[in-house]
């Protein structure tokens, strides 16, 4: 039986052979394991699998600053000592965001996956697109952050915005989706909703319930700060209440769901008590809206649980319940001792009292109520090209802005004959 949704799934065989360095918690090899497990369950029979194109620098520069992209392109572990100043500027270095072999290619692959997924959705070639390699939600416009170098989610959403008036972004990673929120802080065309651990200096430190967006974007950023040890019941109940209200009020044209698996119990960096069922329940719930859906990965630092979780969620999106016993596969040893999809329950005390969750819920719903109705004006009207911040009019050269705009218009065309270096030539003429 084929599921009625058309599913596009993105995977590139090269993505797993990336090594962040000794003891670095981010291990892209988890993507290999996930893909392998998906195939062991023979889920490929129900979907189409694509290899994403490697995003070109000019595509990455749709969000990121051109100099940052250029820097990522250039730097290698062997040459990094020549760029110490730039590395500090862009927050690359020894800790979270080391420079490793094939760094740029890795970014190109996962960003390409999310961009391709968005384009396929735009072209109505599929109903659901999955890119487990994507979802690196911390990266900022001009700097790397928290294991993320390029923010594929922002790039994907920008692609979706070309066709959809309103995009809803939902983030169930244990960390706050700060990069995405920040990128769309001023716009009402993207609503960002992030469920995350907040407090105790937990990374990245943002994501208070009071952060609600600014200017036109006011009330279009929603943060649900949670405390340690939240369990399936409270999480899914809160999630369903808020998301159904958000969808009802905001009426998005497409949903982007970041499924960071570090909110699972037993994650190396996380501190929630979610089981895979609870995590997947959120995916199931979002799928039920029957809106175009872009699903990405994200965090997740206990490799085998990440593979389990995203495999189950692939199954959920394909309307396939997976049997608990993991089929034999190359990586079966990771799933010892019981070789099943279940993971051990978390032992972290749930610090989220009912009253705390109630307060958070009330605050979020109160903010939602301020958006009286879906911003209908945009259903008819093309929104302005750019948000022009009024506080630093003087600093930004108006000529440059126009220049930028022309450049953007060229992008689509440039893609066709882009062949490497001189992609800015035509803009020079314009200027």
């Amino acid at each position: 039986m084929r599921s009625k949704d058309r599913i596009s799934y993105f995977y590139d065989g090269d993505v797993g052979s990336v090594y962040f360095g000794p003891n670095h918690p981010m291990k892209p090899h988890r993507l290999c394991m996930t893909h392998h497990l998906v195939l062991s369950y023979e889920l490929h029979k129900k979907m189409e699998i694509y290899r994403p194109h490697k995003a070109y620098p000019v595509e990455l520069a749709q969000f990121h600053s051109a100099d940052y992209v250029e820097f990522l392109h250039r730097i290698t572990p062997d040459t990094q000592h020549l760029f110490l100043n730039d590395m500090a500027k862009y927050k690359l270095g020894v800790d979270d965001c080391p420079v490793f072999e094939n760094l740029f290619e890795f970014c190109q692959i996962y960003a390409g996956g999310t961009i391709d997924a968005a384009r396929r959705l735009n072209n109505k070639l599929c109903d659901i697109a999955i890119n487990w390699a994507g979802g690196l939600h911390h990266a900022k416009k001009c700097e790397a952050s928290g294991f993320c170098y390029v923010n594929d989610l922002v790039l994907g959403i920008l692609e979706l915005l070309k066709y959809h008036a309103r995009v809803l972004y939902i983030d169930i990673d244990v960390h706050h989706g700060d990069g995405v929120e920040e990128a769309f802080y001023f716009t009402d065309r993207v609503m960002t909703v992030s469920f995350h651990k907040y407090g105790d200096s937990f990374f990245p430190g943002t994501g208070d319930v009071k952060e609600i967006g600014l200017k036109e974007g006011k009330y279009y950023a929603i943060n649900v700060p949670l405390k340690d040890g939240i369990d399936d019941n409270s999480f899914t109940r809160l999630f369903k209440t808020l998301i159904s209200k958000v969808v009802e009020i905001y009426q998005p044209g497409v949903i982007v769901l970041q499924c960071g698996a570090d909110s699972l119990a037993g994650d190396r960096l996380g501190c929630f008590n979610l089981s895979i069922d609870g995590h997947a329940e959120c995916v199931r719930f979002v799928k039920k809206f029957n809106l175009p859906l872009l699903v990405t990965g994200g965090g997740g630092y206990t490799k085998e649980n990440v593979a389990r979780c995203w495999t189950v969620e692939t199954g959920v999106l394909l309307d396939t319940d997976l049997p608990n016993k993991i089929p034999d596969n190359e990586y079966i040893k990771y799933f010892a001792p019981d070789y099943s999809l279940n993971i051990q329950n978390g032992h972290i005390e749930n610090l989220n009292s009912k009253s705390y969750l109630g307060t958070i819920k009330m605050q979020v719903l109160e903010n939602l109520r301020r958006i009286q109705h879906a911003p209908g004006v945009q259903m008819q009207e093309v929104p302005p090209d750019f948000y022009i911040p009024d506080f630093d009019e003087d600093e930004e050269n108006p000529d440059e802005r126009i220049h930028q705009r022309t450049q953007d218009k060229h992008i689509q065309r440039e893609d066709e004959y882009y062949d490497g270096d001189n992609d800015h030539d035509c803009n020079m003429d314009d200027a």
């Binding site: 084929r2 065989g13 797993g16 990336v18 090594y19 000794p22 003891n23 291990k27 290999c32 062991s40 889920l43 490929h44 029979k45 129900k46 189409e48 699998i49 694509y50 290899r51 194109h53 969000f63 600053s65 110490l84 100043n85 500027k89 927050k91 020894v94 800790d95 080391p98 094939n102 390409g112 996956g113 391709d116 072209n123 416009k141 001009c142 070309k162 769309f184 802080y185 001023f186 065309r189 200096s201 990245p204 430190g205 943002t206 501190c271 490799k303 997976l322 016993k325 034999d328 990586y331 040893k333 010892a336 093309v382 929104p383 090209d385 750019f386 506080f391 630093d392 930028q404 893609d415």
Partner: protein, 612 residues
């Protein structure tokens, strides 16, 4: 933690004695000699113990998220001898002193790593050893705060360390005076801070006030004098001289501060502007007494750094820190500089942000009300009557003027706004031009030429592992490996070219088949050093991806299978640090007999039963 109280007493003694090790009248002046005698005789064992203590400490601090590999590596992959570094820095009076005296270059030279890596060494010291330094201070009673959380076996290690250290240092005396000196420098810096704050914020500097300030400094000096040995005295004098010079010149040049700030802003705006003038190499900063703007900035930064250092003592010992999931340096937010831990200051590029708001920083710490971190600054400083008096005297005067709007911003980290942060939203049009399929990804599955008819598919998708099999020894290692190989063959037939495009041919332990036993051993050796290069240099004939693939597909899986069987209660496949044993040699080559044959019977695999 139940055993903690017992350990605590032992701790103080241990560490007190440990500290003796660092004190040596001889080496304080003659460090080369000391280095030769004490550190360079390559007693690996003592280093090992030192590293272990350090590792346990760091783990205790950063819980399971210790991204602090030991040995620490420089950018170029050279390991740093932490023990030696620790000794070198301690003997110069600790992190603060070395930074203040700009001795990092010297330290780097002494450590044998070369002058160029001084900044890196400073960073490494801060990340690895500073906490150890604080900890040693703390448990020896300076702060009297015994609530520091630490795993129990630390005590044991510490004792061992003590024993080793004691053997080493029979003739060495107490180090307390060195600590006193650090303490003095700390106090002094605070005064300096407050002083700077008042001058900078208001551009006035009444002579009376200044005199008072210097009185205070003097008082502290007198108080502590008793504890000081002659050398410390000298050093302090030189510090005082420096300050005196500073204050004197400041008297003459109040306007310099305004000039300095605007210069700084200029630098921040356009770092390449020729009008900035030439700034000499960092190596020439030391001892520079010129009155150019950049040297003022350096002085200011120096003081700021000190200030943050004191703050960070607090932050790190507070309970918050224990729950920290990632390294503090990633909490940086240029708009709330007081939340920046000192780790963020590793690079001179941060200079602008740290100098831009010096006065507000000081005010926050003095009035102690606006910041989330509004605890007393430092227990040992807070108790100092002179210091308290100073705060009392000065705080009314240091209230920020109303025009400082940035003080009204919430202190919590918040979203950055501006053209450098938000995305440019593209046009919205309800028509989309159909993209070239090239920009939509390349279809790998299902293959184009294959007419996928779900009804012909034998197995419905989503099948799990069968309950039982027909093997003669179900669930034996041989049986499992047979089924894995069987599944692999099936997948290979079914996927066709996709099998290779997804690099499934380079998955699993089969990867090891192309490696010789000797190569495997060498690789394992190479990864032990935890270098980010994975022994790339030793394997010039193999590509990088091949090495990574071997690492994840063979080495880590073997480690995991060792854990599965030997330590099933303690499995952590994401822990790269732990050593792992071996289960009877490499089995990559033996596996040929399984995977090479298409469907070998189970009985051929009896040779593997000993794995169970």
């Amino acid at each position: 933690m139940e055993g903690w109280p017992n350990f605590k007493d032992g701790f103080s003694v241990d560490c007190f004695e440990n500290r003796q090790f660092y004190d040596n009248d001889g080496f304080f002046f003659d460090d080369d000699d000391y280095v030769k005698r004490g550190v360079d005789d390559s007693d690996d064992e003592i280093r090992g113990i030192f590293d272990q203590v350090l590792m346990v400490l760091l783990r205790g601090l950063y819980s399971k998220n210790s991204i602090r590999p030991i040995p620490a590596l420089l950018g170029d992959g050279r390991p740093v001898d932490l023990f030696k570094l620790f000794c070198l820095v301690r003997e110069r009076g600790g992190f603060g002193s070395v930074s203040k005296e700009k001795l990092w270059g010297l330290t780097a030279e002494k450590s044998g790593m070369g002058f160029k890596v001084s900044a890196a060494l400073k960073l490494i010291y801060f990340k690895y050893l500073d906490e150890l330094d604080h900890w040693l201070n703390r448990i020896s009673g300076i702060s009297g705060n015994g609530s520091y959380e630490c795993s129990g076996n630390l005590g044991l290690l510490s004792r061992k360390l003590k024993k080793r250290f004691r053997d080493y240092s029979n003739d060495r005396k107490d180090l307390v005076k060195t600590d006193e000196k650090i303490k003095l420098v700390d106090c002094y810096e605070i005064h300096e801070q407050i002083y700077m704050a008042s001058t900078e914020s208001f551009q006035f500097c009444g002579k009376e006030k200044e005199a008072k300030m210097r009185d205070n400094v003097g008082k502290i000096t007198v108080d502590d004098d008793k504890n000081m040995c002659e050398n410390d005295e000298n050093e302090r004098k030189s510090v005082l001289n420096l300050v005196k010079r500073d204050t004197d010149s400041r008297k003459r040049k109040h306007d310099m501060f305004a000039g300095m700030l605007s210069w700084m802003i200029n630098v921040a705006k356009s770092p390449c502007d020729p009008s900035i003038g030439r700034i000499p190499e960092p190596s020439k900063w030391k001892g520079n007494e010129s009155e150019e703007l950049w040297s003022w900035v350096l002085l200011a930064r120096e003081a700021m750094l000190r200030r943050r250092h004191v703050d960070s003592n607090f932050e790190q010992s507070s309970s918050q820190q224990k729950k920290l999931k990632m390294h503090p340096s990633i909490y940086e937010d240029p708009i709330a500089p007081d939340h920046q831990p000192i780790g963020g200051l590793r690079c001179s590029k941060r200079l602008p942000s740290s100098v831009k708001t010096p006065s507000c920083l000081c005010c926050k710490s003095c009035s102690a009300s606006q910041s989330k971190l509004s605890r007393p600054l430092n227990p040992r400083l807070g108790n100092d009557p002179n210091y308290q008096e100073l705060i009392k005297t000065n705080s009314p005067a240091i209230k920020p003027p109303d025009s400082w709007s940035h003080n009204d911003l919430p202190i919590d980290k918040h979203v950055s706004v501006g053209p450098h942060f938000q995305a440019n939203i593209p046009d919205w049009s309800h028509v989309i031009s159909l993209s070239d399929s090239k920009w939509l990804g390349t279809k790998i599955w299902p293959p184009e030429n294959q007419n996928q008819d779900p009804s012909t598919s034998v197995d419905p998708p989503g099948k799990g592992r069968p309950e039982s099999c027909h093997c003669c020894a179900p669930d034996s290692v041989g049986c499992i490996r047979f089924h894995i190989a069987e599944k692999r063959m099936k997948l290979k037939l079914e996927l066709g070219s996709a099998f290779y495009r997804w690099k499934f041919d380079r998955m699993g332990e089969e990867v090891s088949l192309s490696w010789s036993v000797e190569e495997e051993k060498r690789f394992e050796q190479a990864t032990r050093h935890e270098s980010p290069s994975l022994g790339k240099l030793c394997f010039s004939n193999r590509g990088w991806k091949e090495l990574v693939s071997y690492y994840f597909n063979v080495l880590i899986i073997r480690r995991r299978s060792y854990q599965n069987r030997v330590t099933p209660g303690n499995i952590d496949s994401d822990d790269d640090e732990s050593e792992f044993g071996s289960l009877g040699g490499a089995f990559g080559h033996e596996a040929v007999s399984v995977s090479g044959l298409e469907f070998p019977g189970c009985n051929q695999n009896e040779q593997f039963f000993d794995f169970d």
